[in-house]
Structure formats: structure tokens, C-alpha cells
Subunit: 259 residues, 2 copies
């Protein structure tokens, strides 16, 4: 019989992960979220049950996936009464040890991707990083991960934390820069669409070329005229002016070291 999975959390990651597990034939038995709206939204998508109080959590599931924001995790997990079930968290930053006080069987299941509720992604290429202190649990988690992805590895908490930081730079901060550029364009009524081929090519380039070798632009050429003209223009975007200065300096320093 297919193992029963319970999701604690109904955010971006919980939504996409529960959907792909269900698609692969696993049984999602229940969704928990403090927010009834989020819990119901996801439970409806999966045609399953939900609850908004930890005390109503179904104790009969085989595995509990905790996909909460890190700051909410402790508060929710202290309320969980069953200590022999396999409880895994999906956080890049939190160590495995944070679960060990709540459960004799714990693990980490970290898919490295940016998830949104309304955008489905192809899990087969998403790297998933597993950790557990018991070999038996590690084996279970590997099986779960390999069911949905072709890129599964074991990674300890310390290295996972660094991986997460690098992902913040390569994705969250990158996306914020897309937002900044969109805002700058709006000020002159230029459509954001014109940047899309550039954005895509920048991402594709790095698949084949080390990023430092593909660096272009005024900072790496140390084109002071352009940099100071840009800084002048950014007078109307004070916060972005500061960012522009600091990042140009970082690019210049990094590439000066390479020469």
C-alpha cells in the first residue's frame, strides 16, 4: 500500500511538493495550516482533508513533511504528540538536529528550487538533498526523492546551509534585481518585455560558461564614465543607487583579483 503523507504547511513548497507526490501515486492524507484559507485551497486541489489545529493532525500517516517558514517551525512542532513517526523538514537553513527533540525518526528533504503556488515545475530536474541520522530513514527518504527527481544526493546540515545561501544569491536576489529593473523601466514607460531575451540569455550562458568568465558590463570593464553616468541617473532611485555602487565595486574587485 502506498505510504500516507501528511503536510504541515500549505505554502509554495508544500503546494508543489504535495502535488507532485500525489501525481506519482502517493497518498496525501491531510494538510495542516494555521491559515484556513491556505489549508483549504491546497486540500481542495488534492481532494483531501485539512486541519488548522495541530491537535487535529492525523496520527496515522507514515511520514510528515514540515514545510513551514523556519521561524514558525519550533512553535508548531512542540505541539506534535507522536514521537515515533518519520518527521522531515524541507528547510535549507535549519539543521537536522532541530527535529531530533521532537521525534525519534527525523530527516531533511530539501528540493533546491524557487516555488510559487500557481506555477508548476518539472521536479525531475530539481536537485533534492537528503539527510537523516538513521540509515533506515535515509533509505526511505532517498526512495521518496528518487520517485520524483533524477538528481538526489545526501548532504549534511552544514553544507546545506551554505547551499541555501548560494541559492538566495542566485535566485532570490536575482529575482529582486528583475523587480528593480522593471521598476526603473516603468519610470520611462518602457515595457519590461524588452529585457526578457537578455534575462534568459544571462541564465543560459551560465550553463556552459563559468559565470566569472561570462561577466560583461561597465563594472568589469571599469568603464568609469558609464558608471558615474548611471549613478547620476539613479539619483531618483536612492536605494538602488547605493546597491549599484556596492555591486559595481564588488564586480570590479573580484575581477581585479583574477587579472
Amino acid at each position: 500500500m502506498s505510504p500516507k503523507i501528511c503536510f504541515i504547511g500549505a505554502g509554495n513548497l508544500a503546494t508543489q511538493l504535495s502535488k507532485v507526490f500525489q501525481k506519482e501515486g502517493f497518498c496525501i492524507s491531510q494538510i495542516y495550516s494555521r491559515s484556513e484559507k491556505s489549508a483549504k485551497l491546497l486540500a481542495d486541489k488534492l481532494n483531501t482533508d485539512y486541519c488548522t489545529a495541530i491537535k487535529d493532525l492525523n496520527a496515522g500517516a507514515d511520514i510528515y513533511f514540515v514545510a513551514l517558514k523556519d521561524s514558525a517551525l519550533d512553535e508548531v512542532l512542540t505541539q506534535i504528540g507522536f514521537t515515533n513517526k518519520l518527521v522531515v523538514h524541507c528547510s535549507g537553513s535549519l539543521p537536522l538536529s532541530i527535529l531530533e527533540k521532537y521525534s525519534d525518526n527525523s530527516g531533511v528533504f530539501y528540493p533546491l528550487q524557487t516555488f510559487s503556488k500557481n506555477r508548476d515545475v518539472d521536479f525531475s530536474s530539481i536537485p533534492i538533498f537528503i539527510e537523516s541520522s538513521l540509515v533506515a530513514n535515509e533509505k526511505i527518504l532517498l526512495e521518496f526523492a528518487e520517485k520524483i527527481s533524477n538528481s538526489v544526493s545526501i548532504l549534511d546540515s552544514e553544507r546545506r546551509k551554505l547551499l541555501h545561501i548560494s541559492a538566495v544569491f542566485a535566485s532570490n536576489f536575482v529575482n529582486h534585481f528583475y523587480t528593480i529593473s522593471s521598476e526603473i523601466l516603468k519610470s520611462k514607460e518602457i515595457p519590461f518585455d524588452v529585457l526578457k531575451p537578455l534575462i534568459l540569455e544571462t541564465a543560459l550562458k551560465v550553463k556552459e560558461m563559468e559565470p566569472e568568465k561570462g561577466q560583461t558590463g561597465p563594472a568589469v570593464r571599469f568603464d568609469e564614465n558609464v558608471i558615474s553616468a548611471h549613478l547620476n541617473e539613479l539619483e531618483y532611485f536612492k536605494d538602488y543607487q547605493e546597491l549599484y555602487k556596492l555591486i559595481s565595486k564588488s564586480i570590479f574587485e573580484h575581477h581585479s583579483k583574477l587579472k
Copy 2:
């Protein structure tokens, strides 16, 4: 007869632009670069002539494409003796007016993309922005641009400068963050390859979803635990710690305003 094109500059942009013009049947009659190595490298690729002194520039070409770093432009152009030929620059930042003192026929031809010498790109989807003060020259430049791209527009110098700044954020700064993430991963011997699906998805997501709506990560969730754990970890990367702090603040402030 096909118009004769002369390239002043043999860098990333000159390389890719001259190659695509040749591919489309234009005649590239000469390459100028102060660096003999660069001039020869590109001239060999195109099977054409090159020179390393402005005085040796062929006066018989129909159009001169200036693809130099902005700070070198003035010095090179003051040496050009022919004032009735069509001279165009390819710079996002420089106004059209910078050419007007050197030539009675001038224009701007700005392809919005990140170029490297050794990576060919598909020009058909690259937006090209044209400017000229004479309608006749504008028409010539539109014809050139439409020969290689399906996305050609007229844009004035002021708006082009803003467009260039937005491109620096969306591409140059983005690529530097790929470099930073690669460096962070190297410190723990994690291969950069694991980030590639995330990098690609971050770029693809923005094709369909406004970037501010697709923002994920600790800063937009205001997950203080994660942010402070990351800052602690970045003690070993002091410069990046400063960037992390500033950008997280920027993300948080931007998204607080939206709520």
C-alpha cells in the same frame, strides 16, 4: 551591391554583430582595434582586413559601427577624418549627440543583450534600439536592424540610458551573483551545477509572472531566523555579507510597501 561595413572595435559586441551581419550577406570591409591581437582574431574569423591605427581606416565604407568601451570613444573618434559618412555607436549609455561633433551623419544602434566572443547568440529575438536625428539615416538603420532582428524600435537617448541601467541590474549584476554563489559553493566543494535548474527556473518564471509576484526566499517572508543565520555564516565572506544585508533590506522594504 551590398553596403560595406567597417567595425571600429573588436570586442564582444563587435565580434557578434559583425558575424551576424556577414551571415546576412553584408560586406564587412575592415576591422579596427588598438589591440592587434583582437583586430586580427576578428578579421580572421570574417576573412577580412584589419588595422590598428585610425589613419589606416578605409574611407570607402558606407557605414561605420563604433563598438568601443565608452571611455575610449572620444579619443578614437577625434582622429576620424571623414565627416560625411554614416557613423553609429552601439552604446546604451552614450547620447546620440556625442557623435554629432564628428559626423554630419550619425546614429545609434543598440542591441540589448550580453555578448561574449565565444558564445553565438540568436539575433532574431534580440531587441535593437535605433536613434538618428535625420529621417534618412533612421531609415537606413532600421533596415540594417530588421535584417537581423524581429524586434526593432526607435528610442531616444534619455530612455536608452535608463534601459541600459535596467539591463545592468537584470544581467550584469545577476551574473555577478551567479559568480558569488559559485564561490560560496566552492568553499564547501559543492559543484555549481546543482544551482543550474534553479537559475534557469528563476529566469523562466519572469517570462510569465511579474518579478515582484514571483519573489521567494527568507527576505520576502521576513524570516529573521534564516537571515541572521545566513549573516552569521557569511562572516567568512565579509563583502558578500554586506551585500546580503543591503539586498535583503531592499527586498523587505519593497514588499512591505506592496502589502
